[in-house]
């Protein structure tokens, strides 16, 4: 029998089977999901377009000077962003240098030689601390850390440095020892990104199969040799990704820095000197920037920050993703 003759024998109702209830919405649901996914794209694209559009007058007016000059003068309406740009890079890189060895140490400790009964509580605590809002770190830095840092670190170091005027130490530690400045901000940033970096690294180290580590131990390697010759190489891409993710956070962090960096727009002359980052400059000045070129300059700074962090985060995600595929 052919198909046609089968269908001819079926009752009318079955032949004209109506489609299931609600089937008409199927395609609309897919469209809605697609539109939602596109929102993500539009949001990120929108940030870029808005920053370029509203920041363009600053680039058009000041040209290359915007990147090379550190004159930031709202009275004369002359804006050069070199101070905040350099400040952002210095604080983020210093913060990474401080927090990376500590975060690595914590992650190795948790994965390799933490007593089992402590592993969960400490691991959980580190992950929970990663969620504490950054403004809490900022206000702790302003109210507790800065006075302590000024009295116990800056003043004694300057006293030592004063014995050797003109030396490297003296140059690096010049400035008012008030507890606010580049170094203090970097330390607060380091404390802030520490739990995050440690938690990510720990998660990564846990993906190393036990056999791989055990076979290295079986060959007689010490713990440090296992970590540096087996575990770390195994997760190297992911580890670089995790570090870059931490760097991305440090670059764009606003609240932890604004309180403690001192908000001066010149090039920082020393580690104790006050400076500014792009995020802190925008945070403290954008509300008062009524002059069009003033707000354009701040938005242009935002564009610079966007491009730097986008690059860093893109590399981080690509690294983490290629690790996950292994």
């Amino acid at each position: 029998m052919t198909d046609a003759s089968i269908s001819a024998t079926l009752p009318d109702a079955a032949r004209r089977r109506s489609s299931p209830r609600g089937a008409g919405f199927d395609i609309w649901f897919e469209y809605a999901c697609f539109a939602a996914a596109t929102t993500v794209l539009v949001a990120l694209g929108g940030v870029l377009v808005v920053l370029v559009f509203y920041g363009w007058p600053a680039f058009a007016t000041f040209g290359l000077d915007f990147f090379t000059s550190s004159t930031w003068d709202p009275v004369k309406n002359v804006y050069g962003g070199a101070g905040p740009i350099v400040g952002t890079l210095i604080t983020a890189i210093l913060a990474l240098m401080f927090s990376l060895p500590v975060a690595g140490g914590v992650a190795f400790f948790l994965v390799e030689f933490c007593p089992p009964f402590l592993r969960r509580p400490i691991g959980t605590a580190v992950e929970l601390l990663a969620g504490i809002p950054s403004i809490v770190y900022g206000m702790w830095g302003y109210l507790v850390f800065a006075p302590f840092f000024a009295a116990k670190i800056e003043v004694p170091i300057q006293a030592v440095a004063a014995n050797a005027p003109g030396s490297l130490l003296d140059t690096l530690t010049a400035g008012v020892p008030d507890g606010y400045g580049i170094l203090a901000a970097s330390i607060i940033l380091a404390i802030m990104i520490l739990p995050f970096t440690a938690a990510t690294l720990r998660e990564l180290l846990q993906t190393v199969p036990a056999q791989v580590r055990e076979s290295a131990y079986g060959l007689g390697a010490t713990t440090s040799e296992v970590i540096f010759t087996v575990t770390l190489p195994y997760v190297r891409r992911g580890a670089i990704g995790a570090v870059m993710l931490g760097l991305g956070r440090a670059l764009g962090e606003t609240m932890a820095v604004t309180f403690i960096i001192g908000n001066a727009h010149n090039f920082p002359k020393s580690l104790f000197d006050s400076g500014s980052t792009i995020a802190s400059t925008i945070a403290s000045e954008f509300s008062e920037a009524h002059d069009p070129i003033y707000s354009a300059s701040l938005i242009a700074l935002g564009l610079v920050l966007f491009l730097i962090t986008f690059g860093v985060l893109a590399i981080a995600r690509l690294m983490l993703r290629s690790q996950a595929k292994l």
Partner: protein, 283 residues
């Protein structure tokens, strides 16, 4: 023999130094973080009283509370979560069920990951420019909520996609085999099966946006009186903390208490989310 035992000794010492370093930095890190939490608890708990929840931020020299910030935070986080849940769940569903493997899907997933850790102040700047030039021509609670939504969307999208992909293909096939339209399969089978995972993502997103200050600076701006009017400038707990920290001793006290409230809320929500996801793994 002598040479090899020397090498063994050197390796042992190297190892001991490394292990000692790891122990030391862990101790230092935990002590530093515990010190922050302890200061927060000690200074914050001193200011907890009923006024906190009934009075607005006071002018210099007067007593008051944080009610305006608490109300503003709840309203704006509510708006942000409402928007983010709709868009985030749908976007995550699209990535998991429809177009996740297409080139467009890969780009969207990648940009979502970038948006996940994009500087929040830039999101605030973007929303302020858009909302204030195009819709409401002054800072408003609505704008603040939109900025928070943009921070929550990537978190929800990411977790939704992850949990949907955990559901077995046979679950979808059995639904479709019964003649169910695919969108009904997604709604009544897939979403229901992964509901606790989606809820976990929502809680994590909420924990993230409830402590955010930077995106609210220009969008909600803040004010100092109790207001439910989201059409105008609105206060939020983190904004109040930001403003009070640099003030007089009384104001600093209020700031500590506010910081304690925000941190406690974030911690409680995160812990609930973790418990939920553990239950899911077990079940």
């Amino acid at each position: 023999m002598a040479a090899s035992s020397f090498r063994v000794a050197r390796r042992r010492v190297q190892n001991a130094i490394f292990v000692g370093f790891c122990y030391a930095v862990t101790a230092v890190a935990l002590i530093a973080l515990a010190a922050i939490l302890f200061t927060l608890l000690k200074n914050g708990a001193a200011g907890i009283n009923l006024d906190l929840f009934t009075k607005a931020v006071p002018p210099e020299g007067e007593k008051g509370g944080l009610a305006d910030g608490i109300i503003g935070s709840i309203l704006m986080c509510g708006e942000g979560m409402a928007i983010a849940l709709i868009i985030g769940i749908l976007a995550g569903t699209w990535l998991a069920e429809y177009g996740g493997t297409s080139r467009y899907g890969i780009v969207v997933r990648f940009l979502n990951d970038v948006l996940l850790s994009a500087p929040s102040i830039l999101i605030g700047l973007f929303v302020a420019q858009i909302m204030i030039t195009a819709f409401i021509h002054h800072p408003s609670g609505y704008a603040g909520g939109v900025a928070l939504a943009l921070l929550a969307i990537p978190v929800i999208t990411r977790t939704t996609e992850d949990v949907l992909l955990l559901q077995p293909v046979s679950l979808r096939e059995s639904g479709v085999a019964l003649g169910t339209p695919f969108w009904t399969v997604i709604r009544t089978i897939i979403w229901r099966a992964s509901s606790s995972g989606i809820l976990t993502g929502a809680l994590l997103a909420f924990a993230r946006i409830s402590g955010e200050t930077a995106p609210l600076l220009f969008t909600a701006l803040g004010n100092n009186f109790i207001s439910f009017d989201m059409y105008h400038a609105m206060s939020a707990l983190p904004l109040s903390i930001f403003q009070l920290t640099t003030g007089s001793a009384d104001q600093v006290q209020l700031a500590w208490t506010g910081a304690l409230l925000v941190s406690a809320a974030v911690l409680v929500v995160t812990i609930v989310a973790r418990l939920l996801s553990q239950e899911q793994k077990r079940g």
